[in-house]
Symmetry: D2
Subunit: 331 residues, 4 copies
């Protein structure tokens, strides 16, 4: 039985806490959040202790592992405190918005043989996982091209955009991780383009983009394309295509029902997509937490490492640079 | 080179005449229609002789075969005249609306070893033909159930309904033929239901139905369901499913383009279906004519026989009786 | 808070018990099953009392409602005991395999104003529910035809077939209920055909069928077709089409992932279907239990009544009679 | 009636000649090809004069327009001869593999007010045309991203590759044209990557690539991605997605039939795609020729100009440079 404290009682903390509570090999010891009422509401509903001091939660003897769902700028401090005490960590991405700080943290974790798992939850979604397994099984031969379409349902509010780190570090980073993971090799060259098509004034203000494309290539010549947009009227669009020497795999979106509608205007019409990531990746969050607990129980390596977070951030940085310079970036 | 006269210069005659003209092994000798202007327009456009006397067209020495696209009540007379002269016939279905007359004609054709092909054109449509071939190849094992959905885009005008012979003899008969053909065995029992849901007054007036279902079974237990409606707002609906011991085949509708539309209201939406049978079965009419000419040139048996027309009409009669009596009809 | 005892600790009891435990307005008081070890295992895992006497579980003061998941021949006795004590009941279908006994029970329940809900769980599946809601909203105008395809993944073992009551009372009954529910009117005529195509010897032995079709019609002329088979190699096939005057709704199957595979042999290929009803209707079982508890908490009528069970059984009886006599059955 | 000579009796010339013959407003005067037997076979079958001298065919008084389907290095000479005589030209792409020569030709055509149409036939395919029309109609609001997938069924033989001008000038050029056309604005920046994944030795030998991606952007920020591969085991893959502010349009591939196959291994599986461009764009070639003749008859501007050919070639050149330098290319 793994004793777990969830740090952060916001929307992501709520999901993790519920998944901890539902895992038969884990026990939710505490929920910690500086906002006492949020911590109490969540901890109370799940029969755990409510705390306002995250560090104190880490230090508890009955806490073997922590799940970090706090703001990004607190990640490193909390993560390293746990690592230094030999406790396992599941940390929301990114490690930090700053590449050098992230790198330093990753190095210290490695030197301490710390057990830290980065929460790239999509890897645990059933269809993503099945695609990776099908590639490993040789179903499509050698991977040649990975095409990732990833569009948000609606533009986030200004307050979110302001602190997001920009589209590449905040949104594209998930697709960069999936791209690396499906390519099965490190990209060596990357080009990105960014546009301001939805709210040019706000994007200008924060030196950000709302619409982007990334193109990258590995040393052996495998290629990956990513397209992003901060707003798609038809819902949260998440599709992937992996094209290989012996075939192709395509991942479609999820919708609430399987209904197809026919009328005088349309045939075969489906409904808009699941609205956003909490619904779309509900199962992924659960499987991710279960994989974390399972690896701890079995003493096996954690399935996503700080290095994965570092590499994704490095690619995001290259995308930022590529847009700024109008050049391809060698990695 | 097969010399062919097309009898009837209406919409179906036009299609047949154009297909004759395009067939490299056939020569369109004449188009005959009591309406001189219709005959002249069609014959002129295709470089054939225009005639107003169908019988005289049959009798011409340079005519080896005739294609009958005249009103149903003239079919037997024209067909038998050609048969007695040893000429081949491609005749629009049905032979006649009267089963006994049809039977007598079929018997005489057989005794004269006449070469007559009934125009059940759907059998020649690419997808229908491929389904039959896949069944023959054993792809789905033993056929267990055939499900046929067949709905017209809009209710025909009263003048058509009045002379149609009723939904079962006019519309369902195509599906009854396809059902027999895909089952690969003769049905031994049939039940039908008919409803008046679109224009009850008109249907009542002609003792007809606008919405129908048929259920039938062969001696070995293979089953077939047919559903029909005289009006589908989304277009001419033609779908088939053949379920077998090792798998299933499904035939989808055709649409003008492959576009899928996504908006705030719908995703994956396709356009309405091809409007009606002339568009939907355009290729089938051509392949049917080519099969007719091909069999004549090669001296091979014609691929659809008068007996096929007779059996389909027998099933249609049984459907009429089943609706009238509220009983299953043994065949 | 509704105190609930689950009677029966088999596979269906396990599902109900877990759903009771997960419902915030219900408390799982006891699990009762003559097999002590089964009761103990299930009750223990969910923190409830294990009992071997179902009647004693009903009689407990802290039990407000029972969920019956015991063998069919015990349903009426347990249900009526609870009703007589004023306790609410969610009972697996059917009430009983015997129509007269079921009718008597339904009448007594009505005279006692008993609160009994029949577990036609499919009505609570998201897509089914959305289809009914779309019809109610007028999205497809007047319903004309309902087409239900429902095929099991594999033939049940002989021991199951022997006690099943036959394909119509055991399997088709679900589709008959859905047919009635989507038609929105009572059928007045029904015809059925049954075949022995998978295991003729076993089917002969139990006077049963493995492949069946049903066709029925309401007084206003709405039509319904059902096709069933005890074995589909591609998985548990559950599809529905509702065709109306203004459009059509189609329900597709569920699959584990959204992957489409392309190779030299196939394109756009999806994986086999979810294997069977426990996986396919997992969400439906939960929503059904939640609807039961919700109605009790809100003091609203239960959403599926004993009369619904009775009507479905009546239709199943008519199907049996139709196959036996080869006739349409007036209802 | 437009008198037309078709220059070149190869596979593309055959298609054009048949389409000329079938067009009611055009007359096929001559087929010219240095290979006398090829010219004779084609001209004979369609009732036209066979010639071996292409220039003499252009010079004929009864020839109003020419269709050029000869090798690329003869395009400019033949085209300009016709233009100088005031005759209309439909010329297979590209004008020339050399950008400067192409530019000079385009300028001369403009100064002579020559009527030249470049054969970017895809623009005339029903679905492509409908997508452009839907964009024009405002169906998806402002275009944001265009995603083009375009993969050949199999690697062309060495002799073809050797003379092709490389993947970007030979294959991608079609997608670059479609990208420009759907974006509705000129790209101002382009990046390309090229890989040698299928036959590295042959690709190395000709300094060519078999797998490529292109990413481009217009001044207003609209984005376009193209992916190409010289070999896709599942057939000739031609898909497009246009994502806009109010929705999205997707174009699917064409297949020979609409059959979907279900088995123990797969469900919903479709067959491999139409093999290659002659089958896939059969209708497009016909509509293109009809549009050419129609514009001549109506005295309207030709729908694809030499400038379109020039711009596509300029983009292809930029792609070559981008791969060579590893940089984004400003246009």
């Amino acid at each position: 039985m793994v004793g777990i404290a969830v740090l952060g009682a916001g929307r992501i903390g709520k999901i993790h806490a519920a998944n901890v509570a539902a895992n038969p090999n884990a026990r939710l010891i505490a929920v910690a959040d500086p906002y006492a009422s949020a911590a109490q509401a969540l901890a109370g509903a799940l029969g755990a202790d409510a705390m306002t001091d995250c560090e104190a939660a880490i230090d508890r003897d009955d806490v073997d592992a922590i799940v970090i769902g706090t703001p990004t700028n607190t990640h490193i401090q909390l993560m390293m405190r746990a690592v230094r005490q030999g406790k396992a960590v599941l940390c929301e991405k990114p490690i930090d918005l700053d590449l050098l700080k992230s790198q330093a943290a990753a190095e210290e974790i490695e030197s301490l043989k710390g057990r830290v798992m980065l929460a790239f939850n999509r890897r645990f979604e059933t269809t993503f996982a099945e695609m990776r397994a099908a590639i490993d099984a040789g179903d499509i031969g050698e991977v040649r091209q990975v095409i990732i379409s990833s569009r948000d349902p609606g533009l986030a509010p200004e307050d979110y955009i302001k602190h997001s780190g920009g589209i590449f570090r905040d949104m594209t980073i998930h697709d960069l991780d999936i791209g690396r993971w499906l390519l099965g090799e490190e990209p060596v060259q990357l080009t990105a383009i960014g546009s301001r098509l939805i709210d040019p004034a706000m994007m200008e203000k924060y030196d950000d983009y709302d619409t982007a494309m990334v193109q990258m290539q590995t040393a052996s010549g495998k290629q990956c394309h990513i397209n992003n947009c901060r707003q798609a009227v038809y819902g949260y669009d998440q599709r992937i295509e992996v094209f290989g020497s012996k075939g192709m795999l395509q991942m479609d979106n999820l919708r609430p029902t399987t209904i197809r509608r026919w009328s005088a205007e349309v045939t075969d019409a489906r409904e808009p997509l699941l609205n956003f990531f909490l619904e779309r990746y509900q199962q992924a969050y659960k499987s991710e937490l279960d994989a974390f607990v399972g690896a701890l129980v079995d003493g096996k390596p954690l399935p996503v490492t700080p290095n994965d977070g570092l590499q994704a951030l490095r690619l995001a940085e290259a995308a930022v640079e590529s847009v700024r310079t109008g050049r391809a970036v060698a990695l």
